[in-house]
Symmetry: C2
Subunit: 435 residues, 2 copies
């Protein structure tokens, strides 16, 4: 056995077998369809880029997780670890060929050499959508509307999009005299759900003092609805200001579009990253709060400042496909199936192969996905194949049927059979669902 190489994949990497891959494609097709109804257009970028582009001139903390190496030309290259950095480079490089506002989506693999012990994968698919070149309530709201329509396209109705505004939070911190600790405070508050109030209070106290800790925790509490919470945080931020006004506009759009019941103003949402400057949001499934946010994002001031002096504000979100697939499975909403084939043409007579392929052509012309079992094998083997691929119907055409000028069609679930003079008569039943 020594000359056989053991077939295996790298730790943290996965094969997708047909059932899982079909489900994944079904999911991304539904999402793409939503993106397109809003005028988002797809782009793609290389998997491999200059390390300098992906990591900046210094490198940095992400560095350890990045697959980085020297290529044949001794270039310092790396596999992309997200879709945001390549998008920034893309916008800077193609500024002259693009228009603003630019609305793009990008669904592609990324790679991170992360610790796999926490169930993380080293290769996974990201799904990002962004509006770049507009800093206004309409684009902020559009992101929320796309999330809402995406959830519904996946059959999930019971979701909440929790929104906050980093600007209002910072105004509050300024009026509380805690401006200098703002970056730390935002990061600590981001842990509220996971770490709990007491732990967060302790960390806040350590970072900014007991009094500030209590005021911050008070600020992060929701009131009974969006307008009341907005009134409260606006007051805490020192009164009317453009950021609160922005939240109000977004809420008016949500009301007009009939999704205000899905939109929650939650001042505890901060999204840890320094990156965000305006609205931030997370999406939770009411039936599965423990799974965390399935779609998160926010507004940023400068997408591509590493690569261009052009001002490119934007807003966008990333859908966590793996998490969402797990959620759909837990909710019994997953679309896992073994194939699309409606009819298996059983191979029951030698010499009939051309007839079978003629029949297959007629079925496909009628829009019915079908297969010819390639060899005249034992019937049990052919039935097992049909069952394995969940094929609902079998067609039997041998010397006997041929002599009588009929096709025998069997419903493979009920085992009922029926004869038809030709494909034309059978097509409606085969496509429809019952024989």
């Amino acid at each position: 056995m020594s000359d056989i190489i053991q077939p295996r994949v790298l730790k943290g990497f996965r094969d997708f077998l047909p059932d899982a891959e079909m489900e994944r494609r079904d999911l991304t097709e539904r999402l793409e369809k939503v993106f397109r109804t809003f005028g988002f257009v797809p782009i793609d970028t290389p998997a491999l880029e200059y390390a300098e582009i992906l990591l900046g001139k210094g490198g940095g903390e992400t560095d350890k997780q990045v697959y980085r190496f020297r290529d044949h030309g001794d270039r310092d290259v790396a596999l992309r670890f997200d879709l945001t950095v390549p998008f920034a480079r893309f916008m800077a490089e193609h500024a002259g060929e693009l228009y603003l506002p630019f609305k793009r989506y990008h669904i592609a693999k990324v790679w991170r050499g992360e610790n796999t012990q926490r169930g993380r994968y080293r290769e996974f698919t990201q799904c990002d959508f962004d509006v770049v070149g507009a800093d206004c309530a309409s684009s902020d709201f559009e992101t929320i509307q796309v999330i809402a329509d995406s959830m519904r396209a996946l059959g999930v109705e019971d979701f909440r999009i929790r929104i906050n505004h980093r600007g209002v939070f910072n105004r509050f911190l300024a009026s509380a005299g805690a401006e200098s600790a703002s970056s730390d405070i935002l990061r600590i508050v981001d842990k509220l759900e996971k770490a709990g109030t007491e732990e967060v209070r302790a960390q806040l106290a350590a970072a900014a003092g007991e009094g500030t800790a209590d005021r911050v925790l008070d600020f992060t509490r929701k009131e009974k609805d969006f307008p009341e919470t907005l009134a409260k945080i606006t007051a805490a931020a020192g009164g009317d200001n453009p950021d609160s006004a922005r939240l109000g506009e977004v809420f008016e759009c949500a009301r007009a579009a009939g999704i205000s019941d899905r939109l929650v103003l939650d001042p505890s949402i901060t999204r840890g990253l320094d990156y965000y400057t305006g609205v931030v949001f997370e999406t939770s499934l009411e039936a599965l709060p423990e799974i965390g946010s399935v779609c998160s994002g926010g507004r940023y001031n400068e997408l591509a400042s590493l690569y261009t002096r052009q001002n490119l504000p934007g807003v966008g979100a990333a859908i966590g496909l793996d998490r969402l697939l797990a959620a759909l499975e837990a909710l019994g909403r997953s679309n896992r199936r073994s194939g699309n084939t409606r009819v298996l043409i059983f191979h029951v007579e030698d010499g009939f192969l051309p007839r079978y392929w003629e029949l297959a052509r007629e079925l496909r012309a009628a829009g019915i996905p079908c297969e010819v079992y390639p060899e005249n094998r034992k019937l049990s083997q052919q039935f097992a194949y049909a069952e394995r691929k969940s094929v609902p119907f079998g067609i039997f055409l041998g010397a006997a049927e041929s002599a009588r000028g009929v096709l025998a069609v069997k419903n493979l679930a009920t085992r009922e059979s029926r004869e038809y003079p030709s494909v034309r008569e059978a097509a409606a039943d085969l496509a429809g669902g019952s024989a």
Copy 2:
């Protein structure tokens, strides 16, 4: 300017801007639809694998082109350079979870550090489909039928699938006493189209002598149709044999399925690779012979012998997406477009944003992809945006229209305007194409 990183991609790598990416997705969607009507199912495998898996224990000639490096765990890893080797590993690893015959397709990126001077890319998409676990005429023919349906799905009618059988060729070489040079001869004949007859004759003579060179060139000439060519090569191969019979069966299936006029028996087709053992084929477009084969493949005996002792014969083909896209463009059949948006809701009145989003929701509910221009900017800027994305209609709703209870709809190509009381009345015109 020194703190700006120059935005650029690696040589041989490409960004796909929206028009190109939409076209590419349209192409792969059409192909996938065809694969599915035959019961092929999708799989996916990791981009990164153990180098040993991809290159075998020794490495080999491909080695120089492979992106290979040591990962964080000091593993010897490489980016996949084709989809065949990972598929072989996949079949060996998942034998217990799969069924046979297994019909899969796989559309994914691969990487090769090739010389880019010949217009080659270092990152490109492959599209493979294979039937594994059946060695019979039905699966050979199925591959041909899938190619034919794929071409038609792309709007290409005038194609030819040129087929040959390596077994018949080898029988002929045996009967000509040139068996020992068979591998060289197959590789030399493969160059016929590019190098021309004289060059090939010289190389054949050097490899196997003048007499053999002439006999081989004679063998490779087509007769007037498939049956006559089959009769000629069968005779040259020493008379009736199972490989010729297989070609005959494939032709009968093509006749029954109505595609025999697209199938050419061409004994000059050898596909250089040692890998193939049975039928081999190439697909040419009659209008663009210079572009070469857009879909090639053949039958192999042992898919996964590096990784398993299980016998896995198969047949399959690879569609050259880049070449096909170039061909479709040359034929004026490409589907390049700037977006899917049917309607741009112009932003013409402050305070109307919620109304615009309400309108957008109504349009989407009617199945009409639409966009809200996010800010109340100059009309010329909004028109330019619509033009850039080839949006056919604009809706104008300001204080005047609102007072009269109408929507003004403008056909952005003809500049004609028409008013409607609501989206419901306008929907048919907006979806249909004329205002």
